[in-house]
């Protein structure tokens, strides 16, 4: 099927088309899903190169499961987020075992930071946020990123993380409080003025 004709087709239907040999579906799924999974993985790992490996591995698993995919069971994105989450968790544990903390691998917040007087541009705020995220416990980071950046609903996050909705709410609330604590004292530096 032509690539353009697939723009309105759901992920699940695309996967069925892919399993039936439609080459356009493979391209459409790649374009649609890889940037999201890459971004999510990069936020969990704080490392772009590792996130690329994770995205490729997750998509490889999607290609392999396609012939056995049952549409009624889950959304493709939920399934993929779960796979990426698990792969990232494995890598983070491996890092800990190698005594390489997430903090060591995180981008340095101070690098390239413009002066406080000039205020930080938006990209720098994002760098600061990503660096702060790497300081959160794994589960809190996953929940916060899925809820507040990836825009998933709490039930969707519960499905991804295989926990209850109440646990998701608790994790996101604690994660936000922890983020605020990590970024405490930096409000002005991040360009937020009094009264904003």
């Amino acid at each position: 099927m032509a690539f353009d004709a697939l723009s309105d087709v759901s992920d699940e239907a695309l996967l069925v088309l892919y399993a039936n040999g439609d080459r356009g579906a493979a391209r459409a799924l790649t374009v649609r899903l890889v940037p999201r999974m890459l971004g999510y993985g990069a936020r969990l790992l704080g490392d772009r190169a590792e996130a690329e490996d994770v995205a490729q591995e997750a998509m490889l698993r999607l290609w392999r499961i396609a012939p056995d995919w049952r549409q009624e069971e889950a959304k493709v994105t939920t399934w993929l987020y779960r796979v990426v989450t698990n792969l990232c968790t494995d890598r983070l544990r491996m890092r800990q075992r190698r005594r390489l903390s997430a903090l060591d691998d995180a981008p340095d917040v101070e690098d390239g930071t413009p002066s406080a007087e000039a205020g930080m541009i938006e990209a720098d705020r994002i760098v600061a946020l990503n660096a702060a995220l790497t300081h959160l416990p794994d589960r809190q980071r996953e929940a916060v990123v899925l809820r507040h950046i990836e825009g998933l609903t709490n039930p969707e996050i519960a499905a991804v993380m295989d926990i209850g909705v109440e646990a998701v709410e608790s994790l996101t609330a604690r994660g936000k409080r922890a983020l605020a604590a990590i970024l405490s004292g930096r409000r002005e530096e991040l360009g937020y003025e009094k009264g904003n």
């Binding site: 039936n20 936020r43 490889l60 290609w63 936000k176 983020l179 409000r187 002005e188």
Partner: protein, 123 residues
């Protein structure tokens, strides 16, 4: 106590919004690799079997498949031919073997339908 320099809920929401608005990470080379993986692993559509489509040899095809296809049929035919040959030729080694099996077996015979003479004799 919250200080004026601490991040507020609103500040955090603003940071999240900035992250959401960030252009998605795009990597053409990575996408090309992943798409190539997908195309390599993609199952090709299976051609429809000629006999099954016509229906002419449906039962024969089903039987053949049940027996393991051509190889299964060949094996079955060979075994059947060997059995027939052994039955006709009766090699001595096989004869000795079968006799050794059946000669030692004793079976108590019970006459379930005795003749009238036997009943009269026993009274």
């Amino acid at each position: 106590m919250k200080k004026a320099t601490d991040m507020t809920e609103h500040d955090l929401d603003d940071l999240f919004a900035a992250a959401r608005a960030q252009a998605p990470l795009d990597d053409a080379a990575l996408q090309a690799r992943i798409c190539a993986d997908g195309l390599r692993l993609q199952l090709q559509p299976k051609p429809v079997a000629r006999h099954a489509a016509s229906g002419k040899f449906g039962w024969w095809a089903a039987l053949s498949n049940a027996l393991g296809g051509k190889r299964g049929l060949a094996g079955l035919g060979t075994a059947a031919a060997a059995g027939v040959m052994l039955g006709f030729v009766q090699p001595t080694s096989v004869l000795a073997l079968t006799e050794s099996f059946f000669a030692v077996q004793t079976v108590d015979e019970v006459d379930l339908m005795p003749g009238i003479d036997a009943i009269l004799t026993e009274g």
